[in-house]
């Protein structure tokens, strides 16, 4: 009796183990193929404009590096290094809000409109000249 029970139990364990193994193999194949499909190095290009049209001279830089390019007269750029998912591009031009864009599975062409930084421009100058009271002319 005992022997039979033990054998049944062992068979069950073997069966479960086999199912587990199949699942692990299946899942790893699945992730591998997903990575192959999505996360290859690829060329990224784009078009940057403002409210008036294409913007010349926008800096496009890979975050935490000095690798980058600038947009041409038509606002277009092709990034000089092939990029992968998760890379972050920084779009910068003085007077416009700096924008960050993460490369995703679908990214190949980036179309972006930069918005003007809406800061109100004011200024008090300190000439360092001594204060002089206004006095009545005598």
């Amino acid at each position: 009796m005992n022997l039979e029970l033990t054998m049944q139990r062992q068979q069950k364990i073997k069966m479960l183990g086999l199912i587990g193994l199949v699942m692990v193999v299946f899942m790893s194949f699945n992730t591998l193929s997903a990575q192959n499909a999505q996360n290859v190095e690829r060329s990224i290009s784009g078009l940057v404009s403002n409210e008036d049209g294409p913007l010349l001279g926008v800096n496009v830089t890979l975050k935490d590096t000095r690798i980058g390019t600038t947009t041409d007269e038509d606002g277009k750029f092709t990034f000089p290094k092939k990029l992968i998912n998760g890379d972050v591009l920084i779009f910068s031009y003085l007077g416009y809000e700096t924008q960050k864009m993460t490369i995703e599975a679908k990214t190949s062409f980036i179309k972006l409109e930069l918005t003007t930084d809406m800061v109100e421009m004011i200024g008090a100058l300190d000439t360092g000249k001594p204060y002089k009271s206004k006095r009545k002319k005598s």
Partner: protein, 336 residues
């Protein structure tokens, strides 16, 4: 003398020290050198400029230091732009459509001038600092408000006229004013002379509060009660050099005083270094004559400076305090 010492101990024991003291273990020489090496760089590639200014620096305060010093030493203050903006803003202040149209037009003009000529007005400095900090992943804000200087209409500030910055370092906010730290503009020639004043770097909020009034209350960064606008407009005038020599300006709280003949005015300061009695002078202007004088009495105890000056004749006096030949503050005294 004993009474003076007692007063000093009780008053200044509650004063906090300059915020830069939080970083006294850090030597800024490396950051300052990086700023110097990159002198003359243009603004056409800000990510690259940020990289050059912060590469090799490990702490946030050093990265901020390099960016801040670079901005102060490479961006010029443009008096012509300032004057143009000031007159237009005053002209359109009751016409919101024209006022807003001007603001938009001027912003474009200003960004163009900053990009191509590295010349600007206050907000340009504050903006430049924030933009470079953003690129270096440092948390920096532009603060808009009122700045009080000797040449503005000091009792009647109607429109906000000044911008400065707050920077978060190790979880704590600090204040700095890159515009006033940068140098001295000459209204007559529109020339700008770079003359970096380190006193505006992480300055004590209590000293800042004497000539900076933020529109948004959270930027006072004061533990105790914040000044009212009326009290702010009645404050003494302090100059750039005050930030070099003073940690705090204690008394008098007001600019203008009315005294009887023979009465004295009391002055209290917390200085950055221990001064000698010969470092302290008043220049007094009666409208007819100007003269240099020592305070009637003075007590120096460590970094606290307590002065008393007696006015022996009637008249209306501009009283300028000088420390080590630098103009620190102005008060007016009417003696009846």
């Amino acid at each position: 003398m004993k009474i003076y010492s007692l007063i000093i101990t009780s008053l200044f024991s509650i004063f906090s020290y300059a915020q830069i003291q939080d970083f006294k273990s850090i030597n800024f020489e490396k950051a300052d050198n990086i700023a110097l090496v990159n002198k003359g760089e243009n603004l056409y590639n800000l990510p690259d400029l940020t990289y050059k200014l912060t590469d090799g620096l490990t702490t946030d305060v050093e990265k901020f230091r390099a960016i801040y010093v670079w901005v102060c030493q490479n961006i010029a203050n443009d008096y012509g732009l300032y004057h143009l903006n000031k007159s237009k803003r005053e002209r359109f202040k009751n016409d919101s459509i024209k006022f807003n149209a001007w603001t938009t037009k001027f912003r474009k003009k200003l960004f163009k001038k900053l990009l191509n000529n590295k010349r600007t007005i206050c907000t340009g400095y504050a903006y430049m600092l924030k933009t470079l900090c953003d690129l270096a992943d440092l948390e920096c804000e532009i603060i808009q408000g009122y700045g009080r200087v000797s040449t503005t209409n000091i009792e009647n500030l109607e429109l906000p006229n000044h911008s400065w910055n707050a920077i978060k370092l190790n979880g704590k906010w600090y204040l700095c004013d890159p515009t006033w730290a940068s140098g001295i503009p000459d209204p007559e020639t529109n020339n700008f002379t770079y003359n970096y004043n380190d006193g505006f770097f992480l300055a004590n909020p209590k000293l800042f509060a004497i000539n900076h009034f933020p529109i948004d209350h959270k930027w006072w960064l004061l533990d105790d009660e914040v000044p009212t606008f009326r009290a702010f407009l009645a404050s003494p005038i302090i100059y750039g050099s005050a930030y070099k020599h003073l940690d705090q300006h204690g008394k008098p709280k007001q600019m203008h005083h009315v005294l009887k003949k023979g009465e004295a005015l009391i002055f209290e300061y917390l200085t950055k270094t221990t001064l000698k009695k010969s470092d302290v002078r008043f220049y007094i202007d009666s409208g007819y004559n100007q003269w240099k004088t020592e305070p009637t009495s003075q007590v120096i105890s460590g970094k606290t400076l307590l002065l008393k000056h007696q006015f022996k004749s009637k008249g209306y006096f501009d009283v300028h305090l000088y420390l080590k030949e630098n103009l620190i503050a102005t008060y007016t005294v009417e003696v009846k």
